[in-house]
């Protein structure tokens, strides 16, 4: 797939949603991945997991629905869908760690060619660290997808031969969705480019020492 322009976050969320198999159980990380839920139509019958103890999480609560006892992992009030189930935190993380979720979609600061993920800590000495469920989510599904901008605000590429920030998980990411393209990762470090948005393969290859394989169908 090729597009002339980079895609915006909503378009990217729609693309991710389209790649999730109907009937899947999915955890959407905080931030950009949350947008995916807007494109998961009822017919897709996707069940959302929130790691603070619920399967069948619904949309964000409207003002008159807000219930302090019903929040998501980002501490945002949400709603309940029919067929939902509540459970405690140990059962909830057992569900992730045990590989029962079909897909996790996470944000990232950096991803390596072999699927190493850095998304919790810049490593700056004065930063107060907070990991939450990030390391559990990183290893917490059959497929772990990352959704991020390909470049930092300073123009540095975030898909790297090796990450430089402290790791969240080792070799855990299978696919990366970005505003400039979609990438399948592999243990060997070969990265298959599934789609490019407003960028040529040559331009991409010129920016990185990663061994890219062009599968955009161009």
């Amino acid at each position: 797939m090729l597009r002339d322009e980079p895609v915006d976050r909503n378009t990217l969320a729609e693309i991710v949603a389209g790649d999730i198999e109907p009937g899947s159980f999915v955890n959407l990380g905080i931030g950009q991945p949350t947008l995916v839920s807007n494109y998961l139509t009822a017919e897709r019958d996707v069940t959302l997991h929130t790691e603070n103890g619920m399967l069948g999480m619904g949309r964000a609560a409207k003002e008159d629905e807000v219930d302090g006892d019903l929040i998501n992992a980002g501490k945002i009030p949400v709603t309940e869908t029919p067929g939902a189930a509540y459970f405690h935190q140990a059962d909830s993380f057992a569900m992730m760690r045990g590989g029962h979720l079909d897909v996790c979609v996470l944000g990232a600061m950096q991803v390596s060619a072999t699927g190493d993920l850095a998304n919790w800590h810049t490593g700056e000495p004065d930063a107060i660290p907070a990991v939450g469920g990030a390391m559990d989510l990183a290893i917490g599904a059959k497929k772990v997808y990352v959704m991020m901008n390909l470049y930092t605000r300073d123009g540095e590429i975030k898909l790297l031969p090796e990450t430089t920030y402290p790791l969240t998980g080792v070799g855990c990411v299978s696919r990366v969705y970005t505003d400039h393209g979609i990438f399948d990762l592999s243990e060997s470090g070969t990265v298959t480019v599934k789609a490019l948005f407003g960028m040529t393969f040559d331009k991409l290859q010129s920016e990185s020492e990663i061994e890219f394989v062009d599968a955009t169908g161009n």
Binding site: D67, G68, K75, H88, Q89, A90, S92, F93, A130, D136
Partner: protein, 233 residues
């Protein structure tokens, strides 16, 4: 046997200085605000606190930290937009932080209650949170050895109890409380309402009475929320 007391102050009266206190809740959901306030009033200090977070805004756990009653916190997600009291204490070097991935935190609490001496978890392998920890490859996957977290006392919020001490929770306010109830020498619970024994369906008990040591009935917003939900049906 579960003791029922009349006030939050009585419930937390025998929490000693230097105790390890497991505090239920994920953010404010399930956080036992009234028990924490009583603990604050009671003056216990040099505490080690285990909670998912390190307090929000100006209530509950945040105030315990503000008042420098907490020497050490074991949590997964201290830094939030409204964790200013923790941030200040941490930057001042006045609180020790043990950062634990959330699922490992839950599992370590469960292990403490379940008599498990340690367990191999894949979470955190290869990261700085596993530095210095024993690792092992088992069937081609890499794991980190983690140990139980025991508490001297757990202070929790449940939804309903019976007089025997069986507990049920409400929605995502359940979170860490069922594990914490099993992991402490003494478990102290605030509940919206204490019903006669036999009122709760034995199939639906989340925390069996054996884990509940002290209870106090305190009505909070949860009661009104449950009533609103009932009305909506």
């Amino acid at each position: 046997m579960t003791k029922i007391v009349d006030t939050a102050a009585e419930a937390v009266a025998n929490i000693d200085d230097g105790s390890t206190v497991l505090i239920g809740g994920f953010g404010n959901a399930g956080q036992p605000m009234e028990l924490i306030e009583a603990l604050l009033d009671g003056g216990a200090t040099n505490l080690t606190v285990v909670n998912n977070n390190a307090g929000q805004a100006d209530e509950g756990l945040a105030l315990l930290i503000k008042e420098r009653r907490v020497d050490k916190i074991i949590c997964s997600f201290p830094r939030q937009s409204d964790s200013w009291h923790f941030d200040e204490a941490y930057r001042a070097g006045e609180i020790e932080l043990e950062l634990v991935p959330q699922g490992n935190l839950a599992e370590r609490l469960r292990a403490a209650g379940a008599g498990i001496g340690g367990f191999f978890t894949p979470t955190g392998y290869g990261t700085m949170l596993a530095e210095g920890k024993e690792t092992r490859e088992i069937n081609g996957r890499n794991y980190v050895l983690e140990y139980p977290i025991h508490g001297d006392v757990a202070i929790l919020k449940a939804f309903k109890a019976d007089e025997k001490g069986n507990l049920i929770y409400r929605k995502t306010a359940r979170n860490f409380s069922p594990m914490m109830a099993t992991a402490a020498k003494q478990t102290i619970v605030q509940v919206e309402e204490i019903l006669p024994t036999g009122s709760l369906d034995p199939e639906n008990i989340v925390t069996p009475s054996i884990y509940t040591d002290v209870m106090v009935a305190i009505e909070t917003e949860s009661t009104a929320l449950a009533a609103r939900e009932q009305g909506a049906k």
